[in-house]
Amino acid sequence: MAKLGDAMVRVISPRKGQPTLVKAVISHPMNSGDATDPKTGKKIPAHFVKKVFGDFNGKTIFEADWSISISRNPYLAYYFTPTESGVLKMTWEDNLGGVFTKEANVSV
């Protein structure tokens, strides 16, 4: 399986002025802090993504607050309307301070 923080971002058939689908997935355990480790008997500490940003050419086009209800290796899809070519950058920030980013080129 993939390492923590491995991400993939795809922009599906971008067209100028048309709502374009973006799909993104990140490898992350998204531990809620409630589960118990069967080996040690202790609770697995909470480790989940708290905020997700999508920036297009520096401008934030997507923002989300996540919490413990999102499950492991979360997949995300949303639409945005590109008016020019550029770079779409997704950022995931988790509660332990980890920051993961991935970029995708958008050419219209």
């Binding site: 399986m1 923590l4 491995d6 993939m8 799909k23 355990p29 069967p38």
Partner: protein, 282 residues
């Protein structure tokens, strides 16, 4: 007659209800769906390949396989030393596996070949088999172990042959193993008394629960396959174990004789189909 008006209305209503019932029957039983023909690959991929072509989380593991490919073994050599930094020497290689080189060895599939290269040419430890796909709860953050390495390496080597038709030799020395695999494929097994052919040949394309059974032609081309149900990349040998569980039969040990013969026969059914690792499956 006094009740003419009501009789006509009543008769008309009855006629309308009757007509709509008659018309409803084909709608309820699906003959009026008017769907266009499903695409030719849908039957062999449960309709999920369209999604996988666009976006496949298994692609992340291909890059990990690439890193492993370039990592040096104990004697300083890496896979890339012989086969090229981007696996150029291996383009088309995966399309010939499983193969039979000698009678002493029997069937050799790609996992066995990778381990052979590691032990004989890189003086390194062989990778363990992918017997367990699911990450341990207590090691959620540490996804990587030797089994993961084997899966990622297998995925990388197979992806070098993407687009190249499968071309497995089934004649000559391989023929007797192919015959054994064929016998296995068509033999009923387990408490449920089902053979591979019962489900996939005789009922390929039909649904088993929510999932469409894939036809055997094309199955080999999609392995290792990213499976949504387990959120993991599964190898063909592991999938044989799952199928054995499904018919409640003795679970085949990974990369041992019956499973290897089966892989030889089963993959040869897809001869001519181009590889598309990683596949996408429900």
């Amino acid at each position: 007659m006094k009740h003419t008006k009501y009789t006509v209305i009543g008769g008309g209503t009855l006629l309308a209800v009757g007509l709509s019932l008659v018309m409803a029957v084909p709608i309820v039983f699906g003959q009026q769906e008017a769907d266009e023909e499903p695409p030719p690959y849908e039957q062999s991929e449960e309709g999920a390949e369209k999604i996988g072509a666009e976006f496949n989380p298994g692609d992340i593991d291909v890059e990990h396989g690439h890193d492993l490919f370039r990592a040096a073994g104990a004697n300083g050599k890496s896979c890339a030393s012989c086969h090229g930094d981007n696996g150029e020497g291996l383009i088309g290689a995966a399309a010939r596996y499983p193969m039979v080189v000698s009678r002493e060895e029997g069937v050799r599939n790609l996992e066995l070949q990778i381990n052979q290269c590691r032990t004989q040419r890189m003086d390194s430890e062989p990778y363990e088999w992918s017997a367990q796909q699911f990450t341990n709860l207590s090691h959620m953050g540490d996804y990587v172990d030797s089994r993961t390495d084997m899966r990622n390496m297998l995925l990388y080597v197979k992806s070098r042959s993407n687009g190249i038709p499968i071309n497995i030799k089934t004649d000559g020395i391989a023929h007797e193993y192919w015959e054994k695999g064929k016998r296995f494929y068509w033999s009923k097994r387990g408490q449920r008394n089902l053979s591979c052919a019962n489900c996939h040949v005789m009922n390929g394309g039909k649904r088993l629960g929510p999932v469409r059974l894939s036809s055997p032609r094309g199955q080999a081309a999609k392995f290792p396959v990213y499976t949504i149900a387990t959120d993991a990349v599964e190898t063909l040998q592991f999938r044989y174990q799952t199928c054995s569980r499904d018919v409640r039969a003795h679970i085949l040990d990974i990369n041992t004789e019956p499973a290897l013969n089966l892989e030889l026969y089963h993959n040869s059914l897809s001869n001519g189909m181009p590889y598309r690792a990683p596949g996408f499956s429900l």
